[in-house]
Subunit: 229 residues, 2 copies
């Protein structure tokens, strides 16, 4: 990918190609490291480094003692934005601003393209958040899941992969600043509005509902920031 002079890169590329050309499908088991060593004519260290590359870009998955497998759900690298290394000042604000750009449009698309199966999943995702809240549990994980489910309903694979990146950053951010006082009733009402609009197949309403939901979150983050200072 980068410097093709390096053997480990070449080998990683080879394996990538194998997968792409469907010689290996998701879930398939790779030949073991010794076999790869033999068939690719490189040392085991090189094979291992290639595998490390593909694992950390989420193409492969290693199960110690068992073997190496093609990831069933590729994409979704751990922290592709380097959020963990980014300047934390205003980070949450920037994340919410990004959501504000994307999610209303995504909700609108979802309203247009939602399938019966999507509807069921959306309802379930909504119910989980609702349960968390009624039991006064932390609902961030299911909250994100709800938003991601909407992204799936937009039926655009690029969007489906990008949104989780942002939302995962948000989740991580919340984890570090636990003391955000979120009005759970508000969240619940917003989610209900969004769900309703999408199930109705009303793009404009979905867009607006999502917009005000995210806007609310953004304003909360900014209030919180002011207090910090």
């Amino acid at each position: 990918m980068y410097d093709k002079n390096l053997l480990s890169q070449k080998v990683a590329e080879d394996i990538r190609r194998m997968i792409k050309e469907k010689e290996l499908k998701a879930g398939d088991k790779l030949p073991n490291e010794l076999e790869l060593t033999a068939s690719l004519n490189v040392s085991r260290s090189t094979v291992r480094e290639a595998i490390k590359i593909l694992v950390s870009t989420n193409v492969l998955e290693v199960r110690r003692g068992k073997g190496t497998y093609v990831t069933s759900k590729p994409g979704l690298v751990k922290d592709p934005l380097g959020v963990s290394l980014m300047e934390k000042a205003n980070l949450m604000q920037h994340l919410f601003e990004s959501r504000l750009i994307m999610e209303p449009e995504i909700a609108a698309l979802a309203a247009q393209r939602v399938t019966p199966q999507d509807r069921e999943k959306l309802k379930k995702a909504y119910a989980k958040v609702s349960d968390d809240i009624s039991q006064k549990l932390d609902h961030t994980v299911h909250d994100i899941a709800f938003h991601n489910e909407i992204a799936k309903s937009a039926h655009n694979p690029v969007i489906r992969r990008i949104l989780p990146i942002i939302n995962e950053g948000i989740r991580a951010g919340y984890a570090e600043t636990k003391d955000l006082p979120e009005s759970t009733e508000m969240v619940l009402k917003h989610h209900a509005d969004i769900l309703e609009a999408i199930l109705e197949g009303n793009p404009d309403k979905a867009k607006e509902a999502m917009r005000s939901h995210i806007q609310y979150g953004l304003s909360q983050v900014m209030d919180h920031q002011e207090k910090e200072e």
Copy 2:
């Protein structure tokens, strides 16, 4: 990050922490592999695998014969979306749809937040595309650079990192379907409109100019797809 039982993961995490805690800043040189081996009490293979992980997530950068350095501009993983493994059918269409969602808003933000330094960079980026076109060269690389420069002018680090992911996918897509007949005059005019609007600090105009630019690209892609079928 994943399985903390693995030494290489632990070591990668250690190095990450060093960087995060500013013991190492962007551009700094890491201790060499032997020194890391000694200070972390692991073998060189383990150190190397840890480094591979961090390189492929773009935290470190290895210059053979010189040393290993902290990436000056982190983020930007190679193919975080797994585009290379995605179903190719309609991929370009989905990529353009994603741009259509994001870039008009980004252009609007840029128009609001553009700094004098940004202005200069935008002009230069525009000029490069213009040069390419007047010399009838392939302008995709500079085209993307122009769009990315706009994203930078929006002064949101999350956006600045996400957009290149999409646009890199587009570049890769073009590379595979060389025969897209793009009206270069059209591209040039669009870019001129967008640049003008941003330099004027007119968000609405910038948004609309960008929208029609991307919309045009999308329609070209869809025309091209129909021909294929």
